[in-house]
């Protein structure tokens, strides 16, 4: 699992590459836990190369969501593969998180 951070003005884009499981979730958790992340207005998660997510990966996002909301930082997922979206959908997380098809829509969200 590789996480690449691309800061740009008030937006931070995190590109996820690989499989997010109980072994690799710590990499993402470390990135989302950085205090500076709350200085951005938006955190966009580019999921184009995220090929797998388990409950441990979902748990990382869930555990930071309230902290982001409290700081008025919007978390937006985009470019999600169908099989990965299906996992969010099965748990009902698609109704609780902002997931949009493309980068353009993520920037506008």
């Amino acid at each position: 699992m590789k996480v690449t951070a691309q800061p740009s003005a008030d937006t931070l884009t995190l590109l996820l590459d690989g499989e997010l499981d109980a072994s690799s979730a710590i990499v993402l958790d470390t990135e989302l836990a950085k205090p500076d992340i709350l200085n951005f207005r938006k955190v966009l998660i580019d999921c184009a190369k995220l090929s797998y997510i388990s409950s441990a990966g979902l748990g990382v996002f869930i555990s930071h969501l309230q902290r982001f909301q409290d700081a008025n930082v919007k978390l937006v997922f985009f470019n999600m593969q169908e099989k990965v979206f299906n996992v969010f959908e099965i748990l009902g997380l698609d109704a609780l998180m902002t997931i949009v098809p493309s980068a353009t829509e993520a920037e506008a969200a």
């Binding site: 072994s23 388990s54 441990a56 869930i62």
Partner: protein, 137 residues
Amino acid sequence: MKSVLRVACSRAHLQEVRDFVRNYLDSRQLSEVVVNQVVLAVDEVVANFIIHANGEDETQFLDLTLAIDEHDLNVEIADNGDTIFLPGPHQSPDLRAYIQQGRKGGMGMALVNRLMDRVEFFTRGNHTVCHLSKHLA
């Protein structure tokens, strides 16, 4: 055709487990979504056995068996450790509460129960065994 895999109780082996399941299902012409659902269910149960039942003790191991009978996939995950690990009755997680609490865990078995048609945990001697099955159209 049956396929078996033995893995030591380290979360570093989860990738190997997922690849094992993917390779087994590769010739079945299933959709990516269905393959991923089975892979995820097995990964979640294996991760639970490794982390919660065995405390990531690499001297312990799990035996996985995959078999397809007609259109039904049957998975057996046998924990060779001596800790009996039987998840409680299935409850749907309250995700809004989890978000408010900043909670990381507690969704794995809910996923497994939604992904598979049948989920059973039982004891065999002093070991725990999990059976999963799913009808593959």
